[in-house]
Subunit: 207 residues, 2 copies
Amino acid sequence: MTQIPVKKPSRIQTRNRRLILDAALEVFSTDGYGGATLDAIAKGAGLSKPNLLYYFDGKTEIYVTLLSQLLETWLDPLIELNPEGDPVEELLGYVRNKLDMALELPSESKLFAGEILQGAPRITDHLKHELKPLFDSKCRVIQDWIDAGRLAPVDPVHLIFSIWATTQHYADFGAQISVLLDDQDPAARAAKHLEQMFRSLLEPVNH
Amino acid sequence: MTQIPVKKPSRIQTRNRRLILDAALEVFSTDGYGGATLDAIAKGAGLSKPNLLYYFDGKTEIYVTLLSQLLETWLDPLIELNPEGDPVEELLGYVRNKLDMALELPSESKLFAGEILQGAPRITDHLKHELKPLFDSKCRVIQDWIDAGRLAPVDPVHLIFSIWATTQHYADFGAQISVLLDDQDPAARAAKHLEQMFRSLLEPVNH
DNA sequence: TCGTCCATTGACCAATTGGTAAAAATTTTA
DNA sequence: TAAAATTTTTACCAATTGGTCAATGGACGA
């Protein structure tokens, strides 16, 4: 029996890996992969650089660990899209959830966006094997809703793209929004606008 | 008289600065500011590194030059939004223009997105003094249309954000889209979807 | 054609980078 | 508590980075 030795991590390991990943998230999301340095991450985590490398095999491993953990969290709201629920409310709920995530976890959104922006060189596999199947399945759910006449005839694929784009925009382009809105908090009006927009798109005409 | 010597650039200067900026666009947009190297840009431009630095004062200057030139091109379609035209058609035309730009000039879009993502540390002033006034002015135009009953009552600010987000998404998240659509070209269906979405949002109910 | 200015190069540099090795300190286990 | 295992540090390194400088090569007008 080839038993893979999966020792449970010590308290110190759990704590330090957490410290490192937290620090790394900030550094990677504000400086990008290329601009981030192990020194900056080490400093942020309150550890020495060689100590960092005791817990992770290198810069890339920290980065990829972060991204794949992130992808899971990020996919959750999409998973929860319930085929049995009311189509319009399910989708508006999804919009709401994604917007809340973007507003509450902007660094995570930026980290992901930065990786995709650069061609997703380090997570293409994750996208293919985790995101894609879920995406296809949820597109089918939406198409079924449309076929049942419970949703206006939209393009499921591009509907999802539009939801992702508009919600994540509030995290990824936060710096631009800050300038344009003189640092006012966009949250409330953004939520209202997105609900209005997607409702007018999705509500079936014959009611 | 403090006369600034604005010699017109020689043919060689024009050519080489162009070569450098073209190469820099590719390098910066795929590697990010931090990940980009002068060596890579020099190689891409077919020049030696010291030769690069003969034309530009340093990495940052190349980058900022690129970004500010870019911002102008990028703002053009918004400028063309005509207060005298038909509101819905003007806005849908803007969507169309922005989508076409994103599809045709993805590197430019990515470069800009990358800078904003990192907090816009090098172009905040440009945003404040060029983008913001234009943005405010066009928001007023949209509000006037609404007040005149020629457009559904939307939030002008967030309408523009949604247009930017959805169109640029096809450039900035192209890598993700490629995976999800198995490399099919999204252009046609994206255009159709965006028109449907924004039309259903913008068309005034009383016709 | 000559001299002046522009363009280009090779050699170089200090600082920073990701990463290593081995010893020292600390925690856990028996 | 002593040995074993884990964690941390100190000292270090080779490669890469953005950038300089003096010397050389070319373009071009007088």
